[in-house]
Amino acid sequence: MAGLQQQIEKEIYGGLIPTLKNERTFGFWDMLMVCSALGIATWCYVQGGFLGYYLNLKEIFFNSIFGITLGCSIVFIPVFISARYGIDLAVFMRAVFGYRGVVVFIVATYFLTFGFEAINCQMFGNSMTKLAAAAGLNLPGYAGPIFGVICAILGWLIALNGPEAVKKVNWVMVPCLLLVALFIVIMVFKDNTISKLMAIQPPGAGEYGGKFTTYMIAIEWNIAFAISWVNAIGSLPKLAKSERGGYWAFVLGAGTVMALFIFVGALTGLVMAGQTGVISDDPTEWLVTLGGPGLGVLSLVMIGMANVSTQSVILYVVSLSTKVANPKWDYKKLVTFWTVYCSILVVWGGVWTYYGTFISVVGVASGPILGLILVDFFLLRKQKISLYSIFKLKGHYSYEYTGGFNLAAVLSMFVGILCFVAVYNPIAYTVRSSVFYFTTATGLALVTTALTYYILGQVKPIRNYLLKDRTDKLAYVRKNNDGISSGVSLSTKA
């Protein structure tokens, strides 16, 4: 009996069972550490290096810091849903997409966005081969992918032990990663003044039709990068002690801290191009070139640690969310499955080669998903959901829709995708319509999807189709006249 109880407890933190208020373990600072570890990975440097090719210092600073933070302040609004009900966001998405639709759209999106983890592991591989070279060992070309797979395995070992292990690892790793960023900034500024940095012209300046167009395309990449995080929210917020604590931890941790690292990456790439004439989006090249043997090697070690910590957090989050497809799937087997998939991508190496297209394709998928979630929960359902239907309990199946698919959501999503490609070519990075300059393609996809879904929800037969859960017993915050939940004591602090 005790063994069964322990397994039930594992399902609370390592499965889809909702957490109650007294079971939340992550305060704002805990969540900030984990989210920062989630965000700080060497894909930031790849994104930064990518930007540094096209933008000057001022443009990089404002575009990366405020573009990413703005995108994240929108994409992490669904954190409220997960934190409020103590459920994985992918579980809520059953209400948006239907029981089968959620499996198709969400799990397919995970297959796509695992490309980020592959880049993460590849970078670990590059760090290790360069460290070996610094120690006098010239390893063969296949050593990089082998080390990349080792990174995936190390992340697997941590993730197998669940959220507490992930939390402990990240309390050590995150401060180390901040030190790396500090080292890089010191390396850059010890030989360069601000005015000298401002004078460096990026190699690809104006490559896409002029300064403004290039800046907007960079915003598109940053917004797409930020919006793709909708798939990474997962079940972390179900551990949050308050909604606002969870939200701001995500925005500042996975958002602003990540943006700072992107800026540092872009800055370093720009400086390296200016000083050496070598254009690279590989931070391991920058660190050794600019840092020399001492600082460069230390930075590579820290980068390696960053990669492993991020791998563990993403594996935990995605594996839990994948249980939406089948709650009976074992968490540890899912962690193993995603590790193997990531290793295959690492060995292939194609995600990094086609990085710009990869980012755009991720934006095409993620923008509409976010638009649907926001409209569905806040505007159509008015923040009231049926947990019985979400978990298919007591004969409640309000989210079955049509064969398990919410056709209104599917249609809205296609409208969003069409609008995306109507204004922007993600393969050739070309702008097709001036609307792009006001909304970006990802922003337009999000807005048109949301608008279409909202309008469809105003048509009575479709509204009835979408809101079958109104006859269930709904879960929602009841407010008294002071705007405080009737169940919340006045002394409760966020």
């Binding site: 063994g3 069964l4 397994q7 039930i8 399902e11 499965g15 069972i17 909702p18 109650l20 208020k21 939340r24 001022k58 443009e59 600073f61 404002f62 575009n63 405020f66 573009g67 933070t69 703005l70 302040s73 929108i74 609004i77 409220f80 934190a83 409020r84 009900y85 103590g86 300064k211 403004f212 800046y215 907007m216 915003i219 949050a240 002690k241 308050s242 909604e243 606002r244 604590g245 939200y247 009976k328 074992d330 947990l387 019985y388 978990f391 309990l393 007591k394 017993k473 709904l474 879960a475 915050v477 009841r478 705007g483 939940s485 009737s486 169940g487 919340v488 004591s489 409760t492 602090k493």
Partner: protein
């Protein structure tokens, strides 16, 4: 311990129990966002947008 139909039944029972608790009007949710929070969020977004626009000027 191998998971079998006994475990699945227990999980479903636990899920039902928790859904009953959370859906009950007396359930105490974690501190939730209020109007003031939303104002701060919108102001934060507007500031980010303004600074983003400044970057290209």
């Amino acid at each position: 311990m191998a998971k079998g139909s006994g475990f699945d039944l227990e999980v479903e029972k636990e899920l039902e129990r928790r859904c009953d608790i959370i859906s009950d009007p007396s359930y105490e949710y974690v501190p939730f966002v209020n109007k003031k929070d939303w104002i701060y969020i919108v102001v934060f977004m507007v500031v980010c947008l303004a600074l983003l626009a400044y970057g290209v000027s």
